[in-house]
Structures are given as structure tokens and as C-alpha cells.
């Protein structure tokens, strides 16, 4: 039996779905963990209870180019995949670059509308979005706010505190001093053991600054979160999977639903991975995340294929269970 690390009760674990990321939040019901849940319930006003949620990222609605001639196909497939899950997720979080910007008058607004039409097909009680630089980098978030509301905010769901951070609408990869002050205030009322899920577009650490994979004041965000023992950060932007642990926080990047970027560690240039008609959704997708306390998170990459292009059994194969890591 692996010794239980009291602080790791809330670690959210995952599997790649091929079309997004399904996260399962399942706090322990009995024993020491159960006592902790009750104590948290008293402090937070709500006792954490199990639920699952999905992360979608970088759908880039309106993008049209050689790296993905299929446009919104992967996004639409991802919606079907999530709708086919035996248990619909409580929440769907979109971590930015919902749309691809356009300078043609009215076109970006039309793309936001198209995004909302596709997302409206999701069987989920609640959908929450943060902007990416393609949504809000040019107009400071005006169009985003018209369509989705504030660019940063927080809410509580079944005892988990969710924080949406905007690190794009200033044009720069930064959250800025106002938002930092807001974050500090927002976190104040929580006990150190409260489960916190932060979702944002860019990585909050220096993943690859030369590729603009960083947030210049991300260290200040993470130090505001440092006292909290159960922090999960979900982000997009890098169009590939990545897991990073630092302090009490685990950062997960979800794959994109438009095209992939290569691994910068291989020395490859920052160019989209070329489209392969035989495997149109290769390297795209979601990650499914499952809670398995007290083991470490298991992340399982799964293929996403499209029947009419690949002649395979289709998207259901995504649900096949892989090896646990």
C-alpha cells in the first residue's frame, strides 16, 4: 500500500481522450480523508463531492490553412465524443484560442458566433471560457467580453474553487498587477488545503520563452498560489501535452483541436506539425483525467481518428483504456 500523502488527496489525474480532457474529481469518502472533507466543508461552506469535467483548448474556429484543412471538424468530433460519455461532465472549460482572429470587418465576430454554436451542442451543465491571444490580443478583450463575459473570474463548484486567469488581453504574455491583486484577494478566504483549479491560456511557468511559451509574471501568480496545497493548473497555447510539477502545483497542457506543435526539446523549428490525411487528428485532442488516490496521476495518450478519413472504427476507440503510468 502506497502511503497516503495527505496533501495529495485532491490531485486530479487523467487520460487522453483524443478530443479534450476529462477530469474526475473524487475526494476520499472515508477515514482520514473523509474527516478532512468534512472539515473543508465547514471551512469552505461546501464539502467537496465527486464530479468530472472536460478541458477543450485551442479550437481556433475560423482557422483555414495547410496544417488543418478540416477546419472545425476536430472540435465538432470532440463535442460528439464528450456527449457520448456515459456520464456527462458537470463542466467544460475552454482554455483559450477559441477563435482565430481575422482583420476582415465582422469576420472575427462571426467566428465567435460559430464557436458558440458548436459549443452549445455540448451536453454539460456549465461552460466556462478564458481567452487566448487570438481571441483577445488585438482588441484588449472587447469582443471576448461581448460574447463570454469577463476575461478573468472565479467560481466554486462542488467544493472546488475554480480560478479563470487572463494572460493574453494586455497583448503581452502577462496577467498584470490588477489581476494579481484581485487573485490574492480572491484566494484569501480559503483554507490552505482547499482544492483549487486554475485555468488559463498560456503556461504560468517558463516552458519555452523563445517560443513565447511563458507568462512574464507567472512566477508572481504561482507565489500567490504557493501556500495552497492542492493546486491544479490547466492551460493550452502550446498545442501539445505537457505535465509539469512544481511545489504543490501540477500544470497540465491540453492538446489543441486544430494542429499540433512539435516538442521544442527536439530542436525542431516552431512550425505546426504537417497535416497527414491518413491520420487527420494525430496529435490533436483532449486528455481524460481520472482520480486514483493515492497513486500518482496517470496520463494516457489516445488516438483520435476520423472515420471518413482514416477508415478506422472511429472516435469510440478513444475510450479504450491504456496502460497506467
Amino acid at each position: 500500500m502506497v502511503p497516503v500523502d495527505r496533501r495529495k488527496f485532491f490531485k486530479i489525474t487523467g487520460l487522453t481522450l483524443g478530443a479534450g480532457a476529462l477530469y474526475r474529481f473524487a475526494p476520499p469518502a472515508l477515514g482520514e480523508g473523509g474527516g478532512l472533507m468534512n472539515a473543508l466543508g465547514r471551512q469552505n461552506g461546501e464539502r467537496p463531492t465527486p464530479f468530472s469535467f472536460v478541458q477543450f483548448s485551442d479550437t481556433h474556429v475560423g482557422f483555414d490553412g495547410p496544417p488543418d484543412p478540416l477546419g472545425t471538424k476536430a472540435f465538432e468530433r470532440a463535442v460528439e465524443t464528450v456527449n457520448a460519455l456515459p456520464e456527462p461532465p458537470d463542466l467544460v472549460l475552454f482554455t483559450g484560442d477559441l477563435t482565430h482572429d481575422s482583420e476582415k470587418p465582422g469576420e472575427h465576430a462571426a467566428r465567435m458566433k460559430r464557436f458558440r454554436e458548436i459549443a452549445a451542442g455540448l451536453r454539460a451543465t456549465r461552460i466556462q471560457c478564458v481567452p487566448g491571444e487570438h481571441d483577445a490580443g488585438l482588441d484588449g478583450g472587447v469582443l471576448f467580453r461581448e460574447n463570454f463575459g469577463e476575461t478573468y473570474y472565479s467560481f466554486d463548484h462542488r467544493g472546488v474553487h475554480f480560478v479563470a486567469l487572463d494572460n493574453v488581453s494586455r497583448g503581452k504574455p502577462a496577467v498584470g498587477p490588477e489581476q494579481l491583486a484581485w487573485l490574492q484577494k480572491d484566494l484569501e478566504r480559503f483554507p490552505k488545503s482547499a482544492p483549487i483549479v486554475v485555468f488559463t491560456h498560456r503556461p504560468l511557468f517558463d516552458l519555452k520563452p523563445d517560443w513565447e511559451w511563458f507568462t512574464s509574471d507567472g512566477d508572481r501568480v504561482m507565489s500567490a498560489l504557493a501556500p495552497y496545497e492542492n493546486v491544479t493548473v490547466l492551460y493550452g497555447h502550446i498545442h501539445r501535452e505537457h505535465v509539469h510539477e512544481e511545489g504543490h502545483a501540477t500544470h497540465y497542457a491540453s492538446r489543441s483541436l486544430i494542429f499540433a506543435f512539435p516538442d521544442p526539446e527536439t530542436g525542431a523549428p516552431k512550425k505546426p506539425v504537417a497535416f497527414d490525411p491518413a491520420k487527420p487528428f494525430e496529435n490533436l485532442g483532449l486528455r481524460r483525467v481520472r482520480e486514483r488516490p493515492p497513486a500518482r496521476p496517470g496520463v494516457e495518450p489516445m488516438e483520435l481518428t476520423l472515420r471518413e478519413y482514416a477508415g478506422t472504427v472511429g472516435i469510440q476507440q478513444l475510450l479504450r483504456k491504456g496502460e497506467e503510468s
Binding site: 491571444e133 504574455p173 516552431k270
Partner: protein, 120 residues
């Protein structure tokens, strides 16, 4: 005789030129100023060569929209508002190519907007 005089004249011109070249670095606090233009979606020039330990100042001007000028190596992160010139000192003691990025989102080609400082 005429030839010798002409030779002397040329020699003194050469000497004068050498002298002026030598005198420049004598004012060691005077950095070399390199003008740089930022426009969607490139910097001009794209590559700048500097010597190890050399003091250089980039004088960067945007010709269209707001761009950014970011480098972890040289420790700067500037906004380049159109029409305004921003002076950025750089100096490196180790050889290498170092990337400078536009980190203020400026449109669809933004991801490729960068320049290289080659320190040799």
C-alpha cells in the same frame, strides 16, 4: 618627385583614417547605436552581430501597430508604441545566438516576428 609627394599625401590620409578609427573606442562609455525597425511581422534587420563584451544600444521604432521587444537573456520586455523610439542597451559576455521576440500580439503572423543577436 611628384609621385613621392602623391604617395605621402595618400599615406597621411590613410593615417588620418586609422587615427579616427582608433580614437572612437577611446570613449568606452559610448555604445554603438543600431537602429531597428519593427513592423508586422518582422524586425529589420533580422540579425545583428556584436562582439563579446561590446556595449550596444538598439534604437527600435515601430512603423505600424504596438509590438513587443522581449529577451530573457538580456532582461528586457518593452512595448513598442507606433512612432515612438525605444532605446534598449544590450551586452553579452558569452558567445551565442540570442533570440529577441515580439511579445505583444500583433496579428496572424505574430508568432514568427523575431530577430537574432549573434554574439561573437
Amino acid at each position: 618627385m611628384k609621385t613621392a609627394l602623391r604617395f605621402l599625401a595618400i599615406a597621411s590620409v590613410v593615417l588620418a583614417t586609422v587615427a579616427s578609427v582608433v580614437s572612437a573606442p577611446a570613449r568606452a562609455d559610448e555604445p554603438r547605436v543600431i537602429p531597428v525597425v519593427a513592423k508586422r511581422f518582422e524586425f529589420e534587420p533580422k540579425e545583428i552581430h556584436v562582439k563579446k563584451g561590446e556595449n550596444v544600444v538598439l534604437e527600435v521604432t515601430s512603423q505600424d501597430v504596438t509590438h513587443g521587444l522581449f529577451s530573457r537573456k538580456f532582461g528586457f520586455d518593452e512595448d513598442l508604441a507606433p512612432g515612438k523610439t525605444v532605446r534598449v542597451p544590450i551586452r553579452a559576455d558569452e558567445a551565442g545566438p540570442y533570440l529577441i521576440l515580439c511579445d505583444h500580439y500583433c496579428g496572424s503572423g505574430h508568432g514568427g516576428m523575431k530577430m537574432t543577436i549573434v554574439v561573437e
